[in-house]
Structures are given as C-alpha cells and as structure tokens.
C-alpha cells in the first residue's frame, strides 16, 4: 500500500525565512505519528505542508499519492482533514448551518450534519450561532465536521488545547476512526506527555528539523 505521506529532504521558507529544513517523514496507512516541539519550532508549518496549504521550496514528496509540486493537489485536499489553532467556522452561521455548508461543498447529504453534531454532544446547540459558542464547543463542531467528511489523512495542530476530557475522548475516537479506515494521523503539540499518550511514533521538531523524541 502506498505511503500516506512521503517527504524527502523537504525545506520550507516563509517570508524569506527558512522554517523547515531537511524534513524526511513518512506515514504509513493506519499509522499515528506525533510530533512534539517548542514554540517556533515549525510544527504548524509542518502541518500546513502536509495539508498541501504551504508550498515546499526544497526537496520533494507526496501526500496521498499526489506529488507536492504537481497539479493534482486539489483532488487530494478533499481527503485531508485539518484541525488548526483556530476554529474554521463561519461565525454568523449556526453550528448546523456550518456543517451543512461543509457537507454540500463535499458532495455529502447536508442532513447528516445534525447526526454528526449529536455524536459530539452538540445537538442542543445545533441552532446556536458559532460566535455564541465557547471555544470548546467550536472545537467539538470541528471534530463533528471531520466525522462527516471522513478524511484519509488527519492533521491535528494543538487540537486538544482548551478541551475537556470528554472532548479529548472525541479526538481519540476520531483518530481511531481514521486509522481504522486505513488512513493516517499526524498530531503536533508542545505537550510531550499528551502526544506520547495518544500516538504510536513520536518525533521531535526543533529549529525546523525533525529528530527522534527525547
């Protein structure tokens, strides 16, 4: 089976500054990879590179079989799910409307949005506007979004921050669901203990380079 992610000698610069250097990373089907590193080490840039949202400057690689320098990225992006620092909900829409919008753009039945919100425990807040929800609620809604779209590559950037135990349980369930379908998960955080608890393989990132976890 092809690797979910395969990066060789990848370097990324942002604003003229190098952020990632000599990144060699591979992720197999069903694998959960954790990357731990301090602030400014390049964790978010690594996640965005894997999400194909940031272009590489050096090296080569592929994500879900599509070369990073190629033209097939738009097709592949549909199979990538990302939880970033900030929720990506449209503030003026309700949680249900946000998920229905995602469902429609993904070619899915918008009626499934409410079911996804039920699973994450937000059925009573489904008609509440996103800007009237707490950070934790918006984060749960994002998890619901990913339960809906069922990505093959799940990327989590400090996804557990601000979440209670129940919501963290949802993150674990989401990861399990992804690997169970043959997908892969990459999780980055500064919290080494949490990463070690939730992932199988742990790497460290410092000054833009990946290394074995200490």
């Amino acid at each position: 089976m092809e690797a979910i992610v395969d990066l060789i000698g990848v370097g990324v610069s942002l604003g003229g500054r190098p952020v990632l250097r000599d990144i060699d990373l591979s992720l197999a089907s069903g694998e959960v990879l954790g990357v731990v590193g301090p602030n400014g080490s390049g964790k978010t840039t690594l996640i965005r590179t894997l999400a194909t949202l940031t272009s590489i400057d050096v090296g080569h690689g592929s994500v879900l079989g599509a070369p990073l320098a190629g033209n097939q990225l738009r097709e592949v992006r549909r199979r990538i799910g990302l939880i970033g620092h900030q929720p990506s909900l449209i503030q003026e829409l309700t949680l249900n409307e946000n998920l229905a919008h995602v469902a429609k753009l993904s070619g899915l039945d918008p009626g499934r949005a409410l079911r996804a919100l039920e699973i994450v425990g937000l059925e009573d807040a489904a008609d509440r506007r996103a800007d009237a929800c707490s950070f934790g609620m918006r984060r749960r809604a994002e998890i619901a979004r990913l339960l809906l779209t069922k990505p093959d590559l799940l990327l989590l950037d400090e996804a557990s921050s601000g979440l209670d135990d129940a919501a963290n349980g949802l993150i674990r369930a989401l990861m399990g669901s992804t690997t169970g379908r043959g997908g892969g998960v990459v999780m980055v955080s500064h919290d080494a203990a949490m990463i070690t608890e939730l992932t199988e393989t742990v790497l460290s990132i410092e000054s833009g380079r990946l290394g074995a976890a200490r």
Binding site: G15, R17, P18, P38, S41, E206
Partner: protein, 236 residues
C-alpha cells in the same frame, strides 16, 4: 556597474541633444514658446505607456515562470513609470493652461487614461510596499498588473466614446501647425527619452540586484524563541 554608467552617459547625451533641438527649433505659430513643452510632454507619455506595458509583461511572465527577475522588472518599470507619468501629466497641465486656457480636458481620452494609469501605478507600488514577504508581494502585484492591463485600454476606449458624443469646447491646435523642425525635435526627444528609460531601468534593476545580494543572512524563523528563565521570574 560599468554597463549602467555607459547607459546613463548615453542617456545624458541623448537628452541633452534632444533638449538642444527642442530649444533651437522654431516655435509653433499658434502655440508659441509653449509648444516646446511638447518635447517633454509627449515623450514622457510615451514612456509612461511603455513602462506600463513592461510592468504588465513582467507580471504575466512572473505568473507563468515564477522567476524573481520578472517581478523585479515589473516593479522597476512601475517606479520609472510613475515618474514619467507624473512628468507627462504636469507638463500637459502647464501646456493646457497656456494653450487651451484650462489645465485639464475631461474629454481627452489620452489624458484621462494617463491619469488613471498614474493612480493604478500608485496603487501597485502601495500594494508592494505593504507586503514584506517577497513571494506574496510578487504574486499579488503580478495579479494586479494583469488586471490593470485589461482595464486601462477600456478606460481609453470609454473616454474616447465619451468625447465623440460631446462636442469639444475649446479650440485645440493639432500637430499639423507645427513646423517640420519641431516635429523632428519631438522625434529626437522620443528616442532620447527611450534611451533614458532603458538607462533608468538598468540602474534600478542593478540596485535591486545589489540589495538582494547584500541582504543579511536570514536566520531560522524559530531561532528568535529562547527558553524562558523561570528562576528569574521574581526579579522583574
């Protein structure tokens, strides 16, 4: 640098020659001495449109090739273009006041297109100035460059249509009353200003190249973050 010096010298000689012809040719019998301004006004407008075309060309090529030199070309041409557009507009207004009795003719499509181009250039340079990331700057200004090259001809066309429906208010002397020597002087100045454009572009591109080469070695983005000094927390 030698090439730039040679071009600048050639430009200085060409412009001096052009000015000499402009000052020694007999003036237009209707416009008088003010007709000599045409030797700066027309070449400046010619250069403004040339510079604009080069900016558009550089923008398209950057979008296709993604090479930094096309972005540098587009930016340098925009800077030189702003200068000559401003000179063209100013000399046009002085000439207009003297000859037409008004500094501005709303029905002149060339004047209106030039004025629009001036502000489009200013917007282009302001956009570049507001962006620090070189790749983002190149990409966004290239997009604006391409949009502008589509819209500015429409500006000319729309004002031209406007003029054909509205009778021109004042008598406007045209080139047919200019003595032959003045026409020759204007053509020489057109050539001289073109040499000047090439020289200024060469100088500006050389400056950009030297600026890029002299840029300090940029450190890793995360190197600015150090471990906190927890034991010194009470010492603040």
């Amino acid at each position: 640098m030698t090439r730039v010096r040679l071009l600048m010298s050639a430009a200085a000689i060409a412009v001096a020659l052009g000015l000499w012809f402009a000052l020694t040719a007999p003036p237009d019998r209707l416009q008088g001495e003010y007709s000599r301004l045409i030797n700066i006004h027309v070449p400046s407008l010619w250069l403004a449109f040339l510079a604009f075309a080069v900016t558009a060309f550089g923008s398209v090529l950057w979008l296709v090739r993604k090479s930094h030199r096309w972005d540098r070309l587009a930016a340098a041409s925009a800077e030189v273009g702003v200068l000559f557009t401003g000179i063209g507009l100013f000399t046009g207004m002085v000439w207009g006041q003297a000859v037409w009795g008004t500094p501005w003719d709303w029905q002149d499509p060339r004047l209106m297109s030039t004025a629009v181009m001036f502000f489009v250039y200013l917007g282009y340079l302001a956009l570049r100035n507001a962006i620090d990331d070189p790749l983002v700057r190149a990409r966004r200004s290239a997009i604006l460059g391409v949009v502008a090259v589509v819209q500015v001809p429409l500006v000319y066309f729309s004002v031209n249509m406007f003029r054909t429906l509205h009778q021109t208010q004042s008598f406007r002397p045209d080139g047919s009353t200019m003595p032959r020597e003045m026409v020759v002087a204007m053509l020489i100045n057109l050539a001289a200003f073109t040499v000047l454009y090439v020289a200024l572009m060469a100088a500006r591109l050389e400056m950009a190249r030297l600026e890029d080469a002299a840029s300090p070695q940029v450190g890793l983005a995360g190197d600015a973050v150090r471990p906190p000094r927890l034991s010194e927390v009470e010492d603040v």
